[in-house]
């Protein structure tokens, strides 16, 4: 139970962190490999402190980690929270896929009943 709550909170933090286009762009850049703050700031028309703020949100959500070296502190992507989100989407997807597979079967039946549309289709296949 506590685990579920923690997992839910972690997912909330992940989604909140992903809600911002600049942060998503930072993650996209980091998916190519680690980078320093100044490297990350370069493509954006915003200041380095603003980028640092975004990095802090991403770090707190567990989406990135930062190196220890005092000067550069390179950022890198952490895969786990993103995997959690895709798991979430996958569960939702499976839920609907169950419904849609039943719809597939129903549509086949309906097509078979329509004289024209059913002509090319051999009979059978109803569940």
């Amino acid at each position: 139970m506590a685990n579920n709550v923690n997992a839910a909170q972690r997912l909330d933090a992940t989604f909140a962190a992903l809600a911002d286009p600049t942060r998503r762009a930072i993650l996209a850049r980091l998916s190519l490999g680690e980078a320093s703050v100044s490297e990350l700031a370069r493509p954006f028309a915003i200041s380095q402190p603003a980028i640092s703020k975004h990095l802090k949100v991403l770090e707190e959500a567990g989406l990135i980690s930062r190196g220890r070296e005092a000067q550069k502190r390179p950022c890198r992507l952490v895969g786990k929270p993103l995997a959690d989100i895709s798991e979430w989407l996958e569960a939702y997807r499976r839920h609907w896929e169950g419904n849609f597979q039943r719809l597939d079967a129903l549509l086949d039946e309906l097509k078979a009943q329509e004289p024209q549309a059913g002509a090319e289709r051999p009979e059978g296949g109803s569940l």
């Binding site: 839910a8 997912l11 909330d12 989604f15 909140a16 809600a19 798991e87 979430w88 989407l89 569960a91 939702y92 997807r93 499976r94 839920h95 609907w96 896929e97 169950g98 419904n99 849609f100 597979q101 039943r102 719809l103 597939d104 079967a105 129903l106 549509l107 086949d108 309906l110 097509k111 329509e114 549309a117 051999p122 059978g124 296949g125 109803s126 569940l127």
Partner: protein
């Protein structure tokens, strides 16, 4: 070619969930399956063990719909309904949705778009929620109560039936 396509779920913005799926049927039939109660009850049943007991559809702009599902063994019940905002047969339906149990705050707005090409229909269903928190709650619901495990089972059963039926016909 029974199993026409794989469902793709995306979250293009903070408040939306978008589903895209191809069906091997003309869109008139897909539209009917979404609007005729006797057809809706056949496929929109939810997980294993649930049936759609109530399915009332008043298909006109401003008309309402109401669905109630029941669990055969447990007797639990889940209901939802809403109002049709826009109906363009056979290509588009816009409707509100609200669950009885209010497991998410406020209303959702659903837009169903059906595009047909070469006898196949691409369905795009967009759900827009009042807030990001609500959207996330809906997404998370898929993970709750071992539901995903039972869907897994269901998917396996259906797949084996579908491939069995296809092979059996050959």
């Amino acid at each position: 070619m029974k199993n026409a396509g794989t469902l793709v779920v995306t979250t293009p913005s903070d408040r939306e969930i978008v589903m895209t799926r191809v069906f091997d049927a003309p869109r008139d039939l897909v539209f009917d399956a979404h609007t005729k109660p006797q057809l809706l009850k056949r496929w929109l049943t939810g997980p294993d063990g649930w049936t759609m007991d109530v399915c009332d559809v008043d298909l006109r702009v401003g008309g309402t719909y109401r669905f109630v599902w029941r669990h055969a063994a447990g007797g639990s019940e889940m209901g939802m309904g809403g109002v049709y905002r826009e109906i363009v047969r056979p290509e588009c339906i816009v409707q509100t949705e609200r669950f009885d149990q209010a497991w998410y705050p406020g209303e959702g707005l659903g837009t169903l778009v059906l595009r047909e090409q070469d006898g196949r229909t691409t369905l795009t269903s967009t759900m827009l929620y009042e807030s990001k928190e609500t959207r996330d709650m809906v997404l998370k619901s898929g993970m709750e109560g071992g539901v995903s495990a039972s869907y897994d089972r269901l998917a396996t059963v259906l797949e084996s039936q579908i491939s069995g039926a296809t092979k059996g016909a050959a």
